[in-house]
């Protein structure tokens, strides 16, 4: 019971039970049930598609622009859902933490895993859309799971770090909500990064250093079209290319360390 270890069997059981519960409860009492997990990003996609692709004509000469747009929104929804829920997880389960001793990180991991399950369901839709849209499957599709792992690691690191601070300072949730709104426009989700690249190449390069932008562009490259601008074909300095990975790594390690350090007082401070 002493060491909170991911490999410890009973912790895995708890993780499984909590994730199952989270997922089951989220769509209970709704007529469409699990379908909402699919409908939400599809509706967001429909709105963005009408506004940006049809009215503002952002798509330009990007092949398969609708799928390209859908991929971006699905990944963005995942990142938002994952961090928002992850940051709140500890405070939401406060009652539990004050009554039973169990490894606290399990609460954060189980909550964020629910978002991962949603993402996987959504990616099935993306793939179906891609095939309908005439995208040909390629071996690079196999790289997508690794990229998802990267963005999940980033979201998990942020959840650990901000979730731990949120126990004492509840403002964190509001601050993050605002930050994430701003971040939405700093990442090429609705607009193609080529638009920025033609106007200000430096700005496009800076955008690509953001791990979320790097992952979204990489997944678009692997999944949809090789004409996507990625950090690999646009930023030519190897040291700059590893920056997004370094950010993910540092945030995850720092977040886990900070969470671990603070977690022994959670029961008292919540």
């Amino acid at each position: 019971m002493a060491i909170p270890n991911f490999l410890y069997k009973n912790n895995r059981v708890l993780l499984k039970e909590l994730t199952k519960t989270d997922f089951k409860l989220r769509y209970q009492n709704s007529v469409l049930g699990y379908l909402w997990a699919l409908l939400r990003p599809l509706m967001m996609f429909a709105i963005l598609y009408i506004v940006f692709a049809k009215l503002l004509r952002f798509g330009g000469d990007i092949p398969h622009y609708p799928v390209y747009l859908l991929t971006g929104t699905v990944l963005w929804s995942f990142f938002t859902e994952c961090t928002m829920q992850g940051i709140r997880a500890i405070v939401q389960r406060g009652e539990l933490l004050r009554k039973i001793c169990f490894p606290k990180y399990i609460v954060v991991v189980s909550t964020t895993l629910t978002a991962v399950i949603n993402l996987l369901i959504n990616l099935v839709v993306v793939v179906i859309f891609a095939l309908i849209n005439g995208v040909t499957p390629s071996p690079t599709w196999l790289l997508v799971p690794l990229l998802i792992l990267e963005i999940y690691a980033f979201a998990l690191g942020i959840s650990f770090l901000l979730g731990a601070i949120n126990v004492k300072f509840r403002d964190i949730t509001s601050i993050w909500e605002v930050l994430i709104q701003a971040l939405f426009y700093a990442i090429p989700i609705i607009y193609p990064i080529a638009m920025i690249a033609s106007a200000a190449p430096i700005a496009a390069k800076i955008i690509l250093l953001n791990p979320i932008a790097q992952v979204i562009q990489d997944i678009r490259y692997c999944l949809i079209t090789k004409e996507t601008i990625t950090i690999w074909n646009y930023v030519d300095n190897v040291f700059l290319q590893i920056i997004p990975f370094a950010i993910v790594f540092i945030v995850l390690i720092w977040g886990s360390w900070y969470f671990r350090k603070k977690s022994k007082r959670f029961a008292e401070e919540i």
């Binding site: 019971m1 009973n10 708890l14 499984k16 089951k24 209970q28 539990l96 039973i100 022994k264």
Partner: protein, 245 residues
């Protein structure tokens, strides 16, 4: 005969930081930091507890409100970490600080049993072995596939209580919960405790001297964060009643 020590507490200290003013905002925290205000007051709750608990003892912990009983129990349950001193626990400890913690009204009775078991650190296989026993004790078999929100409150506590006492832990921690439900079920609980008295290690925090006299094999009076009296249930119950006279 040498008796097994299952819990050994040495020189245990615990204090809490109580916020003196609202500091759950960043602004306030920064102001306080700038003004050099600590923003909290140190509240000493446990001040040097020494305690040995032997196998199969039924221990009653009594004391006035705020004397540190529940803090001691929560520290034993590892919910709070000890500030100073050590706690050695030999065996699997199952805490019930409150009944039905982690119960979810939207889940079925069955799912709640497994979730609760997982929270207490039991694997699904271990829960499979205990499941029938728990359901039978609660007398709720026909309701296991119904959602908990459709249970009456009496049925909910019966289920929670049955998990608490039928979970196969070595040491059971109970905070003020002994008998729940209607008269018939309460009688069943009381009979159960009389039956297992001396067969399982149980630590009970309570205000009922009647229960202390009836069930406990040893009792401890906590006063001002220290063990004030440690002895027979009768002796401790008398001392406790004297606190008011």
């Amino acid at each position: 005969m040498e008796r097994d020590v299952v819990i050994s507490v040495r020189n245990l200290y615990k204090s809490f930081r109580l916020p003196t003013e609202r500091v759950s905002g960043l602004k306030q925290a920064i102001f306080n930091r700038l003004k050099g205000i600590k923003g909290y007051k140190e509240q000493k709750v446990l001040t040097g507890i020494n305690l040995d608990i032997y196998r199969n003892e039924f221990i009653g912990i009594v004391g006035r409100n705020g004397s540190g009983k529940s803090t001691l129990l929560k520290t034993l349950a590892k919910i709070y970490f000890p500030e100073k001193g050590t706690i050695d626990i030999n065996g699997n400890l199952v805490p019930f600080i409150e009944l039905g913690v982690g119960f979810n009204p939207e889940l079925t009775g069955r799912d709640n049993i497994y979730l609760n078991g997982a929270l207490l650190g039991f694997s699904n296989k271990e829960m499979d072995a205990m499941y029938d026993d728990i359901v039978d004790f609660a007398e709720l078999r026909p309701f296991m596939d119904q959602k908990l929100k459709n249970y009456s409150s009496g049925m909910q506590v019966r289920l929670a209580f049955s998990i608490a006492i039928r979970a196969k832990g070595d040491i059971l921690l109970l905070d003020e919960v002994l008998a729940v439900g209607d008269a018939a079920f309460q009688k069943k609980c009381n009979n159960y405790f009389e039956e297992i008295k001396g067969k399982q290690t149980i630590i009970l925090v309570t205000h009922s001297m009647e229960n202390v006299r009836k069930f406990c094999t040893r009792a401890i009076l906590i006063d001002n964060g220290k063990v004030s009296i440690d002895g027979s249930p009768e002796k401790v119950a008398k001392a406790y009643e004297k606190l008011w006279n």
